[in-house]
């Protein structure tokens, strides 16, 4: 396991929650990445610019992090090429079908005390855990 840094984890989480709160207070929108992205895949006039701004802002935040730290983002990959493609397809399809991902359900939905979001979050965390366990049993686990 990489060193656990609770302060960075909590502080980063507070920043994420603050970003979601700002988007709700000012634009009246849920900061759910898959939903914001979905609205760009079937664009409606007058509902594009804020979405494009938010989506472009994410790698922008990555750049700010690089600039502050003068280093790398610390991305260590855990999947083979075929796993990467399959993972992307499932994440894209599943988050659209389930109306949300970690941000929309986990941060915003639970933040509104939504029952749907709480259940969805518990389901994708449990399935994610089961998937990692299955990869371990199959000898395909490349993480930690």
């Amino acid at each position: 396991m990489e060193t656990f840094n609770p302060l960075a984890a909590f502080g980063g989480g507070v920043l994420i929650g603050g970003a979601a709160l700002l988007l709700m207070l000012v634009n009246g929108r849920v900061a759910g990445i898959s939903g914001i992205l979905g609205g760009l895949l079937s664009p409606r006039p007058g509902d594009i610019a804020w979405r494009a701004g938010f989506i472009a802002g994410l790698p922008g935040g990555g750049l700010v992090f690089l600039w502050l730290h003068e280093g790398s983002l610390g991305v260590s990959l855990v999947a083979s090429w075929p796993q990467t493609v399959l993972a992307g397809l499932l994440v894209g399809f599943g988050t659209r079908m389930g109306s949300g991902c970690t941000s929309g359900h986990g941060v915003c939905g639970i933040g509104r005390l939504s029952r749907r979001s709480l259940v969805a979050t518990l389901v994708f965390i449990a399935t994610g855990m089961a998937t990692v366990l299955a990869l371990r049993l199959l000898g395909l686990f490349h993480g930690g």
């Binding site: 990489e2 656990f4 984890a9 909590f10 980063g12 989480g13 507070v14 929650g17 970003a19 979601a20 700002l22 988007l23 709700m24 634009n27 009246g28 990445i33 898959s34 979905g38 895949l41 610019a49 701004g53 472009a56 922008g60 935040g61 990555g62 700010v64 983002l73 610390g74 991305v75 260590s76 855990v78 999947a79 990467t84 493609v85 992307g88 397809l89 499932l90 894209g92 599943g94 988050t95 659209r96 079908m97 389930g98 109306s99 991902c101 941000s103 986990g106 749907r116 259940v119 969805a120 389901v123 449990a126 399935t127 994610g128 855990m129 998937t131 990692v132 371990r136 686990f141 930690g144």
Partner: protein, 151 residues
């Protein structure tokens, strides 16, 4: 509500600022690192609590914050709050969450961290994001055709 034309100009800027803060938070909390994420999902290995603490930090802001904000008549720039109203635990919600969970466990990426991690320059992240957009597009196309929806 603010003047409409003024709001139209400001909304994208606020969206971008919120996106930057969000991405920065994902960077600081190391959620852009798939090894961290699968470390949390790997309950039979050396369990890494980071993701759980990040969620707690975010919820410590959104649970009380949304309570206060959603008490207002509306947001500062838009006509109304755009918040989901459905409450039923239906099949698309549960099946979608299962499929997402499998993909999340396989790659260690969910949508926000993947988009933020594009600046790491790893070609794998670009391939993941491309596949993710394709998967989302396939779903939305199928959902547009009544014969293919299963509701």
């Amino acid at each position: 509500m603010a003047d409409n034309r003024f709001a139209r100009l400001l909304e994208p800027g606020v969206g971008a600022f919120s996106g930057v803060l969000f991405g920065l938070g994902l960077g600081i909390s190391e959620m852009v690192n798939p090894a961290r994420v699968v470390g949390f999902l790997d309950i039979t290995g050396n369990w890494d609590p980071t993701l759980g603490v990040v969620m707690l930090g975010a919820l410590a802001v959104t649970i009380p914050g949304f309570r206060l904000v959603l008490r207002r008549n509306g947001p500062l720039l838009a006509a109304k709050f755009n918040v989901p109203t459905r409450t039923e635990l239906d099949r698309p919600l549960l099946l979608g969450a299962v499929l997402f969970g499998v993909g999340w466990g396989l790659g260690g990426f969910c949508p926000g961290p993947a988009l933020t991690a594009l600046v790491s320059g790893h070609p794998e992240v670009f391939v993941f994001v491309g596949a993710m957009l394709l998967g989302a597009w396939i779903h939305d196309r199928a959902a547009d055709r009544p014969t293919l929806t299963r509701r």
